[in-house]
């Protein structure tokens, strides 16, 4: 491991970007409004009540769009500055001033945060528009938009914060919004339970962030990016850096559904589909990746923590991919795929300077193609009476052409077929995983192979999903009311966002990859990735990747497009059965955590009743007894009052005289 330390130490230029400059004026001052506008809109929608029902959704759309416009303005302004002056700090106000602990609520404007701002507001606005139609018949559409706005505000707080504490506020905010939206239809008990599960799993992760905050304050005396991620990040011992790094990883695992805290993401599909697209695919679940990349200077000092990050990413990417192969619920299959793709990003982020930029790159392209596919899934559900079982789909390509084509764009992108978006980002991650690490040659081979195999499985399950839904023969059941299914294309408000996202899925990767534009843009934050040769030549890696992708796709085609798909799921192999129940993750959680926890709770409740309550009750009883005595003394007679006073006075005088020194 020590060789890695020397490696990190030898690359200081790659780890620390330019020091942030304070903002003095200009367009940057609108940055607080990015958060303020959606907050205001959410407040109006929630406080306005039913009065805002008629136009509330349009207010939500307007708030999100306005945030995007402001974000784009700031982006253009930042683009106009020289590359080494693109990190800005905007101090909004003094927030906490408690002796040694001082935090300013401030905004960090740099390429990384702006990338997220644009992704969140752009995809967010599209999904807002989509939701206007998708949620049209829901009586609580206004509330839905209020929550969506709340989410946008919280997510922007998270990415714009210039201290870990403010980041934590946004972190909790997105958790809350996610909880509210997963349980949006909370009259269904299982949906409410799903929301609770997500909430609890996230709490475990949050604990990591809180501990990390404590460690930072103890070691840096501050939780601001300026202090923690500045030049002083190299001054803490490796042990401290490792502890902070691992705690940040725990936080990332909770938020980004990484092993072993991934179990909530599948259940989170209980929320309305636009929520799944925005929060549980494109943005919120990627916050963990953001956290790791943002903390790059600390992570670079902790090679052990980085190794754990890579391992977690590798496990999750295989885990998600395997689960995705067995799911018949279209949204759950997509959720498993999200988990797997974020595994790629986490893995890349754990690779250090060679991977940071590609993790974010993949995050952006994934945001487009996965959101597009989720919206496509929503469109399919819309046309198929809310059916989600892919075994009941089939041959839908003819009935919903736009959905089919946009979904196809997303499908080709996630497969990594050139020149679609996913190819440019995923291929770079695979390449980075194959870069040898000095003194640990095995790692390049192990992690490289995992990413390669993952690409193959991804090709299989995504093709399976695509073929089962759009190709093959019709396997539709009747509607819930017994009438026949009439699949139909979604209204324009739904198709246009899908089309825009599809355009992104097709061309965004190529556009950003040309001339290394995106990587260069991120350089002030992620450092300059030194080009290192992978253990296998680049051309061979690309060929291999495309090879496994083609193999996976062909297998899927033969089984799910060319052959008849049984409507009743076959028994399957042991692995399939395990994958259908998320590889027994819930069972493991139950046995390892929930049941001992409940036993502990029960015994604590018993002890609480018997011991604590007993003590409290008896104290209360004795107090009330004492009170009764007081009341009896309070007779209402002036003479007894005067006597009490006199007696008290005499006692006091005697005591004073007796104890006189």
């Amino acid at each position: 491991m020590h060789t890695l330390t020397t490696l990190a130490a030898s690359l200081p230029a790659a780890t620390i970007g330019p020091a942030p400059e304070p903002v003095s004026g200009g367009i940057y001052l609108v940055a607080p409004a990015l958060v303020g506008i959606p907050v205001l809109s959410a407040a109006i929608l929630l406080l306005g009540g039913r009065r805002t029902d008629r136009w509330g959704h349009w207010l939500g759309v307007a708030a999100s769009s306005l945030s995007f416009v402001f974000g784009a303005a700031v982006f253009v302004a930042l683009l106009g500055r020289p590359a080494d002056q693109r990190v800005l700090d905007l101090s909004v106000r003094s927030w906490i001033d408690a002796g040694a602990f001082q935090v300013d609520a401030g905004i960090r404007l740099d390429p990384l945060s702006l990338t997220f701002v644009l992704l969140v507001t752009f995809v967010g606005t599209l999904i807002h528009i989509y939701s206007v139609a998708y949620m049209e018949h829901d009586v609580d559409r206004r509330r839905f938009f209020a929550y969506l706005n709340l989410f946008v505000a919280a997510m922007l707080t998270l990415v714009l914060a210039n201290s870990y504490l403010l980041l934590f506020v946004g972190w909790e905010g997105v958790g809350l919004a996610s909880y509210l939206l997963i349980g949006f239809w909370n009259y269904r008990t299982d949906y409410a339970v799903a929301a609770k599960k997500a909430f609890v799993a996230n709490r475990i992760g949050d604990l990591g962030l809180i501990i990390a905050l404590g460690l930072m304050f103890a070691n840096f005396g501050s939780v601001g990016f300026l202090d923690v991620l500045g030049e002083r990040s190299g001054q803490v011992s490796e042990g401290v850096a490792t502890a902070i790094g691992l705690m940040l990883l725990l936080a990332a695992c909770g938020k980004s559904a990484q092993f072993p805290l991934q179990s909530w993401l599948g259940d989170a599909m209980a929320g309305p589909t636009p929520v799944s697209a925005l929060i549980h695919a494109a943005t919120m679940v990627t916050a963990g990746v953001y956290l790791i990349v943002r903390s790059a200077p600390i992570m670079n000092e902790a090679p052990t923590a980085q190794l754990v990050v890579v391992i977690v990413g590798a496990i999750t990417l295989l885990f998600g991919a395997i689960v995705g192969c067995a799911k018949d619920d279209i949204k759950k299959a997509l959720a498993a795929s999200t988990m797997s793709q974020i595994g790629y990003m986490i893995l890349a982020a754990g690779l250090g300077p060679v991977g940071y930029a590609f993790a974010i790159f993949h995050l952006v392209t994934h945001g487009f193609f996965k959101a597009g596919m989720f919206l496509g899934a929503g469109s399919v559900m819309h046309g198929m009476d809310d059916q989600v079982d892919m075994r009941r789909f089939g041959g839908l390509a003819r009935y919903m052409k736009i959905t089919w084509l946009t979904f196809m764009a997303g499908w080709l992108a996630i497969l990594g077929i050139p020149p679609f978006s996913g190819f440019w980002s995923k291929d770079k991650i695979i390449e980075a995983a194959f870069v040898p690490v000095e003194g640990a040659e095995w790692r390049a081979w192990v992690f490289g192979t995992v990413t390669l195999v993952g690409a193959g499985i991804t090709a299989f399950y995504m093709s399976r999903l695509f073929f089962m839904t759009f190709e093959g023969e019709r396997r539709w059941s009747t509607k819930r009311d017994g009438s026949a299914q009439h699949p139909h294309e979604a209204p324009r408000l739904m198709t246009w966002p899908m089309i825009v996202l599809a355009v992104g899925s097709v061309g965004l990767g190529l556009y950003l990859a040309l001339g290394g534009k995106f990587v260069e843009w991120l350089e002030p934050v992620t450092g300059t990735p030194l080009h290192e040769e992978p253990v296998l030549p680049e051309w061979l890696l690309i060929t291999l990747t495309l090879g496994v992708v083609v193999v996976g796709t062909v297998i899927a085609y033969r089984r799910y497009a060319a052959a008849t798909v049984p409507v009743v799921p076959p028994l399957g192999t042991a692995l399939t059965r395990a994958a259908r129940v998320d590889l027994y993750q819930d069972t493991v959680n139950d046995v390892a955590l929930v049941e001992p926890g409940q036993a502990l709770t029960r015994s604590l409740v018993f002890a609480d009743r018997a011991v604590v309550d007993g003590a409290v009750t008896s104290i209360a009883r004795s107090q009330i007894g004492l009170g009764e005595i007081t009341r009896r003394v309070q007779t209402g007679f002036v003479r007894s009052y005067a006597a009490t006073m006199l007696l008290g006075l005499v006692v006091l005088v005697v005591v004073v005289l007796a104890t006189q020194s």
Binding site: G636, T644, Q660
Partner: protein, 572 residues
């Protein structure tokens, strides 16, 4: 030719006191010369201008005092230093707020005071006065005189001024206590008790002053302070005298064992006056106590700390456990004020600079919540229900706890504000009460009095129980419908004498005076419901200001603590 030299009077530093007392004298003249119909308006304007003027005067003196530490005026009888100004500002502000509650006649058009306080309760004469809508506007000058005395009390620089101020503030209060419009016998009984016990402690205090004079040969604080530092054979004289003086002051703050008058008087007095008394008397008396303990007796802290510790602990415990078993809102608040006296005493006992700051801060915080809380109590009334089920006349305050059930549903705003005051009393974070408690307890710990802070924290947590109980009652309990006015049997069985019925619903509390107008009304209408009357606006403003103060000082207390801390230095 006489060689009399007139004392030089520093009008400037005296201005807050002079403005208020002058206005009080003018108020008496107003009673004599202004037609009855216009008196209330004139008196109200005069009082508001006087109290506002006092505030302005304090503000004008502020910068000078914060620079040079203050001056002793009138040959040393009055000390105008930082703590004096803080206390005078607090007093003027709280008195102004309390005044707004006092003047409010509510939508019933009746104020809290008997139309003709001198008439015999239940007499035809009283009924006549009530029908004619006569008002006792003398309450305004009385209130101003009391306030004037309170302004002098903490500023007194010698024991004689202290005693005179005590009487100036006390006598109007005795009178005001006995002037309630409803339950007049209860009110007069409270007034009588207050007067007798007050006179008793005045005598004790005067005796103490005499003993201390015998020891030191002077009434001047500074001279006595010097004398305490020198050894002499008369220590017993000094100690007993000091304890007696302290007893006089502890009576005024309502500390155990001199607290016995508090619940009875708080319950009997007209509710707006209770608010005024509970807030302002406590501020003035603690101010005087602080000066005595910090300026006159620091040489004796070793000997007297046992007294202060005992009193502090006893006060906190008695106030807390006493409140637990009360069923009358005004008595609950009365016991709560006793408990608060104990909490404030922990700050006094701290005997350090932080203690002074903390006590001054706590007094403002507590006073604001108290004026506001009694203002709310003043608005929650009983309404008689006629035999056909229709709503009848609005009666007195609905003070029995059970009558407050469900108030949160019928009047959410009022109940919310009251809950805010209760949370502040309980010391829940983000209310001003928390900041105050935190300040006094941390000062006590800093001063080495950690056992007191510990007991204080424990009793505040016990006290939180009955505050929260009231909140639960208001928001989560179904209203009990109408309260049966159960007979005087219970009242009569209590104590045998004219003792206070402690556990009787408030509507029954008046029954011992079967001749009162209220009792007649109660008998005519067998049952009552709880209702909230609208204000004329004055009380609403006062309650709103109190609530705002409670919230603002709860969220951001540090600027005020720093402001007070900057000047909280006694002039020796």
């Amino acid at each position: 030719m006489s060689d009399f030299t007139a004392p030089t009077i520093a009008w400037g530093p005296l201005s807050p006191v002079i403005i208020v007392l002058l206005a009080a004298v003018v108020g008496v003249l107003v009673e004599a010369f202004v037609p009855a119909a216009r008196r209330r308006v004139v008196q109200l304007a005069l009082s508001v201008v006087a109290l506002g003027g006092a505030l302005v005067a304090v503000a004008a003196l502020w910068s000078g005092v914060s620079e040079d530490g203050g001056t002793a005026v009138l040959g040393g009888s009055l000390v105008v230093d930082g703590p004096t100004l803080v206390l005078q500002a607090t007093l003027a502000l709280l008195a102004l707020l309390a005044l707004l509650v006092v003047v409010d006649r509510t939508e019933t058009g009746e104020d809290a005071f008997a139309p003709s306080a001198a008439s015999i309760p239940g007499s035809d004469y009283e009924e006549l006065a009530r029908r004619k809508g006569v008002q006792q506007t003398e309450i305004y000058p009385l209130l101003l005189f009391a306030t004037g005395g309170m302004l002098i009390f903490p500023a007194a620089g010698d024991l004689l001024t202290l005693f005179v101020a005590l009487e100036v503030l006390s006598l109007p209060l005795y009178l005001l206590t006995g002037m309630a419009r409803r339950r007049r016998l209860l009110s007069q009984e409270a007034s009588m008790k207050y007067f007798l016990l007050g006179a008793f402690t005045s005598a004790l205090m005067l005796f103490g002053i005499a003993l201390v004079y015998g020891y030191s040969g002077s009434l001047r604080y500074s001279v006595i302070a010097d004398a305490t530092k020198e050894a002499s054979g008369l220590d017993g004289l000094l100690l007993v005298g000091s304890v007696l003086i302290l007893a006089g002051l502890l009576f005024k703050v309502g500390a155990a064992p001199f607290h016995t008058w508090t619940p009875d008087v708080y319950q009997g007095a007209p509710t707006p006056i209770t608010g005024f008394m509970a807030a302002c008397t406590k501020v003035a008396a603690f101010g005087a106590l602080l000066r005595i303990v910090y300026v006159v007796l620091p040489g004796l802290d070793w000997d007297l700390s046992v007294v202060l510790w005992t009193v502090t602990i006893l006060t906190m415990v008695v106030g807390t456990v006493g409140a637990l078993v009360q069923t009358d809102m005004k008595r609950v608040l009365g016991y709560s004020s006793i408990a608060h006296a104990g909490f404030i005493l922990t700050g006094v006992v701290a005997l350090n600079q932080a203690g002074v700051t903390a006590v001054l801060f706590y007094l403002l915080v507590y006073g604001a919540a108290t004026v506001g809380a009694f203002g709310v109590v003043w608005l929650v009334r009983e309404r008689s229900v006629q035999s056909d089920g229709s709503a009848g006349a609005v009666l007195g305050e609905a003070t029995h706890l059970s009558q407050w059930a469900g108030l949160g549903r019928s009047n959410p705003a009022l109940a919310l504000v009251f809950a805010l005051f209760l949370l502040s009393f309980a010391g829940i974070p983000l209310t001003a009460g928390f900041a105050g408690k935190f300040a006094v307890f941390s000062a006590a710990i800093e001063g080495g009095a950690w056992p007191l802070a510990l007991i204080g924290v424990l009793s505040s947590s016990a006290a939180a129980f009955f505050y929260v109980r009231i909140i639960v009652l208001m928001f989560f309990t179904e209203p009990s419908g109408s309260t049966e006015a159960e007979g005087g049997a219970v009242a009569a069985s209590e104590d045998g004498a004219a003792g206070l019925p402690l556990d009787v619903p408030a509507s029954g509390a008046a029954l011992e005076g079967s001749a009162t107008g209220l009792a007649v009304e109660v008998r005519a209408a067998a049952t009552t419901t709880t209702t909230v009357v609208g204000t004329e606006g004055f009380a609403a403003v006062a309650i709103a200001v109190c609530a705002a103060t409670t919230v603002i000082l709860g969220v951001a207390p540090s600027w005020l603590l720093e402001l007070i801390g900057g000047v909280a230095q006694f002039l020796p």
